[in-house]
C-alpha cells in the first residue's frame, strides 16, 4: 500500500514536471494578428495579389522559428487578409474592417498611391502602423502627416545606381527618354525626384511624357518619343506588360539604344512577354526568382518555401519583405505599440530584406524617413535569359 502510494506520488511529480513546459509554453505563446490588404481582383491585382502568398510564406517562416518575441512572450503571427478590390473605397473599407472588427495594430500591403492615401486616412488616426509595399513618391502618399506609414520600396530608389551603371556601360548615351505611366499622380514626383539625378550624372532628358495606363497600342506614343532622338529609353515606372509592349514597338521601329527600367519590371517577365529577340539587352534593377546570385535567405527561405507551396511569382518577395520588416521592427522595439515601433523603426540602422540589409531613407525627399531602401540586383536580358550584373544599394535621400 505504502509502495503503491509512493509510486503514485512519484508518477504524479514526473507528469507534472513533464507537462510543465507545455503548460508554460501554452500560457506564454500568444497570437499577434496582422492585417494584409492586397488586391486580389481588379487592375491592381497584377501588382498586389502575389504579395498575399508572399506574406503567408513569411508568416510560416517566422512562426516556424518560434514567432515574434516581445518582452519574453512569444507571439505567433496570424495574418488577416482583406481584398481592397483595386479601388480607394475598397482599400478604406478593408482597413476599417481590419482595424475595427479584427482589432489589428499592424497592416501590410499597398502599391497604388490613391489606395495608399485611402488606407492612411484610416490607419493613421487609429494609430495603426502600416508597412506598404510601394510608393510612387506622390507627396500626398508619403509625408510627415503619416508618421505610422512606411514603404518597403520607392519608385525612385534605383534611379541613381541604375543610371550610374548606364553611364559606365554605355558612355555614348547622352540623351534619355523617360516614359511615365499616368497612374496616381506620380508624374510630378518622378520628374522632381528622378530627372535631377539624371541631369547630375550628365544626361539630358529629351522626352518626359505620361502615357495613359490603359493604352492599347503604344505606337503613336513611342514614335513621339523617338522623334526627340533619345539615346536610351528609361522606364521610370510601369508594369512588365507596359514595358514589354513598348519594347516591342521600339525595336520594331528600329530603335537600337539601351532600354532600362528604374522601377523593377522584372527581366524574365519582360523576356516572356516581349520575346527574347526584342527584349535582348533590356536591363532592370530588380531580382530574379531562380538566379543563383540571389542572397541565401532569398533562395533557402523564400524560393524553397514558395516552390513547395506551388508558387513561383517573383513579386511575392514584396509581401514577404513587408511582414519580415514589420516583425523586425517589433522585435527591435520590444513593443507592440505601433507608435513606439514606428519611432524605433526610423532609428534602425538597417532592416533585413530578401535582398540584403535595407537602409532607411526619405527625410530630404519627403520630410520623413519612411522608406526602406534595400539593395537590388541589376539584371540584363542576354540570349533569352536574365544575366546578373551586380548588386547596387538603392537610396532615397
Amino acid at each position: 500500500m505504502r509502495r503503491g502510494l509512493l509510486f503514485v506520488a512519484l508518477a504524479s511529480i514526473c507528469i507534472a514536471v513533464g507537462l510543465a513546459p507545455i503548460y508554460t509554453s501554452a500560457a506564454e505563446t500568444k497570437v499577434i494578428k496582422i492585417g494584409a490588404v492586397n488586391s486580389l481582383t481588379g487592375f491592381m491585382a497584377a501588382g498586389e495579389s502575389p504579395s498575399d502568398p508572399g506574406m503567408k510564406i513569411a508568416a510560416d517562416w517566422i512562426n516556424d522559428k518560434g514567432g515574434v518575441t516581445v518582452k519574453g512572450v512569444k507571439y505567433k503571427v496570424q495574418l488577416v487578409t482583406e481584398d481592397p478590390k483595386s479601388s480607394a473605397e475598397g482599400m478604406a473599407a478593408a482597413c476599417i474592417k481590419l482595424v475595427e472588427k479584427e482589432k489589428v495594430k499592424f497592416i501590410l500591403g499597398g502599391v497604388n498611391p490613391m489606395m495608399n492615401i485611402a488606407a492612411s486616412s484610416v490607419t493613421e488616426p487609429a494609430n495603426v502602423l502600416r508597412m506598404a509595399s510601394y510608393t510612387v513618391g506622390n507627396p500626398d502618399e508619403i509625408n510627415a502627416k503619416f508618421p505610422l506609414t512606411f514603404f518597403t520600396n520607392a519608385n525612385m530608389q534605383a534611379a541613381r545606381p541604375l543610371l550610374t551603371w548606364l553611364k559606365e556601360t554605355y558612355p555614348q548615351v547622352k540623351t534619355l527618354a523617360f516614359p511615365h505611366p499616368g497612374e496616381g499622380g506620380g508624374l510630378d514626383s518622378r520628374r522632381k525626384n528622378i530627372e535631377p539625378i539624371a541631369n547630375k550624372l550628365g544626361f539630358t532628358v529629351v522626352f518626359s511624357e505620361e502615357f495613359p495606363g490603359d493604352m492599347v497600342d503604344y505606337t503613336a506614343y513611342v514614335k513621339k518619343g523617338l522623334a526627340t532622338n533619345p539615346d536610351a529609353w528609361v522606364f521610370t515606372d510601369g508594369w512588365s506588360y507596359m514595358v514589354a509592349a513598348q519594347i516591342k514597338v521600339l525595336r520594331r521601329q528600329g530603335f537600337k539604344g539601351p532600354i532600362l527600367s528604374i522601377d523593377p519590371a522584372i527581366v524574365s517577365e519582360v523576356l516572356q512577354l516581349a520575346g527574347p529577340e526584342l527584349a535582348e539587352g533590356y536591363a532592370s534593377a530588380s531580382w530574379e526568382m531562380f538566379s543563383s546570385d540571389m542572397k541565401p535567405v532569398f533562395k533557402k527561405e523564400f524560393v524553397a518555401r514558395a516552390l513547395k507551396g506551388g508558387h513561383s511569382n517573383a513579386w511575392m518577395a514584396w509581401g514577404f519583405n513587408d511582414l519580415w520588416a514589420t516583425v523586425q521592427a517589433i522585435e527591435s522595439a520590444q513593443s507592440l505599440d505601433p507608435v513606439a515601433v514606428a519611432k524605433h523603426l526610423r532609428s534602425m540602422k538597417k532592416v533585413e530584406t530578401l535582398w540584403g540589409p535595407a537602409v532607411m531613407g526619405g527625410q530630404a525627399t519627403f520630410g520623413i524617413q519612411s522608406c526602406l531602401c534595400p539593395p537590388q540586383a541589376i539584371f540584363v536580358a542576354k540570349k533569352g535569359k536574365p544575366e546578373f550584373v551586380k548588386w547596387v544599394q538603392t537610396d532615397v535621400p
Binding site: T41, A220, K223, A245, L273, A274
Partner: protein, 286 residues
Amino acid sequence: MVSQVIGQIVNVLMTSSIYIMVALGFALVFSVMRIMNFAHGAIYMIGGFVCYYFSVSMDLGPWVALPLTTCVMALFGVFIEKFCFRPFRRDFEKATVMAIALVTILKTGADLTVGPLAKGMPPLVAGSINIGPIAFGADRLVVLFIVCLLLTALIILVRRTQIGQAMLAIAHDPEAASLMGININRVSSLVCAMGCGLAGLAGGLVGSVLVLHVSVADSILVRTIGVIILSGIGSIGGIWAGGLAMGALDTLGPYFLPFVMSDPFEFALVVLILIIKPQGFFGHEL
C-alpha cells in the same frame, strides 16, 4: 516631311486595323440583335487567353491556335445567346444589364483563373518591314490583311447570301421575319457565334502583336463603342470608316497634344460628331 506624313498614314492604318477587327463582332451583334454587348471587350480578352493556351501552353503555334480559338469562342457565343440574351431579346434594358453582369463575371473569372499577370505570345510573323525611314512590324501587316479579308467577307455575307438576307430581315422587323418563316433563334445564335468568334480571333491576333492582359477588356471596349458611334449604329459596311477615324484620332491626337489630353479630346470629338451627325458616317445601313 513626306516620309513623316507617310509614316503617320501607316501608323493610322495599323492602329485602325486593330479597332476595326474588334468592332466587327460588336457591330454584327448590335445590328442584328439590337443588343449592346458590353461583354464584347471581355470576350475579346478571353479569346486572347484562349489563343495563348492553344498557342503557347499546348504548343500548337499561332496559325493552328487562331482558328481553334475562333471556334471555341463561337461556341461560347452560342451559349451566351441561348442563356443570357435570348430571354431578354425584346427588352433592351435587361439585355444591357445582362451584358454588364457578364463583364463582371468574365473579368473576375479571368483574374482568378488566368491570374493578373500579363502573357506574351510569339508573333505571327517575325521581323520588321522597313520602307525607307518607315518601319513597322510584319505581324501588323498580317493583321491589316486579315481585317480587310474579314470585312469584305462579312459585307458579302450580309448583302449577298440567304443567311445575310435573314439577318437583314430580323434587324428590320423580327416579327415579320418570323412570320416569313425565318428561324429567329437559329439566326441569332449564328450572329452571336460570329460576333464572339470575331472577338476571340481579334483577341488572339492583337494579343500576339501587343501584350495580353486582363485590363485590355475595358480599354478596347471604349474604343470599340467609339468606332460604332462614328461608323453609324447599325452599320457594318461603315466600320472601316469609323475604325479609320478612331485610329487617326488615336495616332494623330497624341502627336499634337500631351498624351493624357488625347483621350478626352478624342472622345469629345466623338461626342461632337454624334451631335452634328447622330447617325454617324453611314447611318442605318443594316
